[in-house]
Symmetry: C2
């Protein structure tokens, strides 16, 4: 049988474990809710115990420690999720699977990697991936490597200018009306009184949404200077947002700097909900 | 005689040419105003014709093309400065000095490199350098390499939230009240009616200044995740700004993510006005 690699998309609400080929073909997968670490890891082990893989790539909810020089590298750090604070995820995997290489990054980075290798950003060098789902997360792949500094980007927590007359306070527990607090799914729900998928495509909520996400795009443009900004996550299933965001991003930048054409620059995911698990397999495959 | 390297700090108002040792000791330098390219380059050649150097590092005003795959790599691109639009700076140097390695980056990056190697950021891996002078420029050195994507960062052109009641429109020709339009030297002068060095240290202008620069620092923190933010440029000679910026940056981040201590995180240049020319020599030295 051909070489198999493994992946874990470890989200705050659900886990997906996958095995497949190094070029991203899924052979088997399982998904289960994120419970306390003991039950959750028991499910993870039950799945991977069946397979002989050389590499397992993990894309995890966070915040996580990705600094290889740190004593807590491989840990989920200060999450409010019960039981997971300071959980040594990489350590648990290495103990269970000695000799298997365990790769470790954020859930957002891994989806960005999928899009970079096989999705909407294929062929681009500097790929910014932004998910607007339960939160707003940012991952940046440059030449196949994950951008990081002191730690991984937290580009959902910037403070945009307010839409004139918008008094909605935002739902980020830390910043109220940061990008995440104004645009992620829970913000849409708090503002509209129902979940985003139940709203009309011309609901006023989407004007706010585009207004704030365009500011995020303008700021990502002057800081990261990506070749492409790929949007994923549940909220971005509202396709009508894209043209609004493109138009307003261009207006905000006002011709100050070169960017690719907006149509090619701000795009929707190519792999849909598979970006994360494909990203795991492809990243694992590249590290065989 | 020991090996010499060269550098050019090519600013929009003045040029500084330097030769020195690969570890940054200045042996000779000359400065002259930035005129049209012919006169300016004649002055550059007059200086370097005297020396036998292996490498010359250029840190240039911009925007510049730093993409090595581009047909206009080494050019100053769309500057409003008369005569310099689409000037092939690297080409002119290579023609005059065949066999000499010509290095090319932004004026901000090169000052950041100086601070990274020998200044306030010595020993840090991810160094964000921000100059607040005639404009606001951002350079980012990661592990000794300059961060770039589609092009170099333009992190001075983000749109901050307004100080309550502040009606000053800002002076950026593209964005009005972006960070540069609100905080660079010309903004201070337009707001106050006189140049910054003539204002009292407790002038209200510095409250606005700190308010906006703290927002910039908060955004740089969640995007770039630097280990340290080093501020240089004429306006930052107002040392009283630093404590205000530190305090307000911490308030904006509100404990959401880990940063170094604010005292060590947001700091003034260590090399003063020499950051750029030292940076040139050190970068050239590292590329011998
Ligand atoms: N079609 C849709 N339109 C708008 N919002 C949606 C849609 N589908 C899901 N969402 C919202 O997206 C969020 C979930 O995002 P998702 O990316 O699926 O998960 P997660 O971020 O937890 O990985 C929820 O708040 C949900 O209400
Ligand atoms: N001590 C000072 N306090 C406030 N502003 C200053 C001071 N010194 C210079 N400036 C302002 O800084 C700007 C020049 O910045 P500088 O960094 O020296 O040059 P440049 O950005 O052109 O390389 C001018 O607008 C000047 O008024
Ligand atoms: Zn927030
Ligand atoms: Zn601007």
């Amino acid at each position: 049988m051909a070489t198999l690699v493994g992946g874990i998309e470890a989200g705050g609400t659900k886990f997906v474990c996958v095995v497949g080929t190094p070029d991203g073909e899924i052979k088997d997968s399982v998904r289960f809710p994120t419970e306390a670490p003991e039950q959750t890891m028991a499910n993870v082990f039950k799945f991977f115990d069946q397979y002989d893989v050389k590499v397992i790539a993990i894309g995890s909810f966070g915040p996580i420690d990705i600094n290889e020089d740190s004593a807590t590298y491989g840990y989920i750090t200060s999450t409010p999720k019960p039981g997971w604070t300071n959980f040594d995820f990489v350590g648990a995997m290495e103990k269970q699977y000695p000799g298997v290489k365990i790769l470790w990054t954020t859930d957002v980075n891994i989806a960005g990697y999928g899009e970079y290798k096989a999705g909407a950003a294929k062929g681009h060098k500097n790929v910014l991936y932004v998910t607007v789902g339960t939160g707003v997360g940012v991952g940046y792949v440059q030449d196949g490597k994950f951008f990081q500094g002191f730690s991984h980007p937290e580009g959902g927590h910037m403070l945009p200018r307010r839409y004139p007359g918008d008094e909605f306070k935002g739902v980020c527990p830390y910043h109220g009306s940061c990008i995440e607090g104004l645009t992620a799914g829970p913000a849409v729900e708090a503002r509209a009184g129902k979940k985003g998928h139940l709203l009309a495509v011309d609901d006023k909520v989407w004007d706010y949404e585009a207004f704030y996400l365009a500011q995020a795009c303008a700021t990502y443009t002057v800081t990261f200077r990506p070749d492409i900004i790929v949007f994923g996550g549940g909220v971005m299933k509202q396709e009508q947002l894209f043209d609004k965001i493109r138009k307003q991003t261009a207006e905000l930048l006002n011709g100050y700097l070169d960017t690719p054409n907006m149509e090619d620059y701000i795009v929707h995911v190519g792999l849909g909900d598979d970006a994360g698990i494909k990203g795991c397999l492809l990243w694992a495959g590249d590290n065989l």
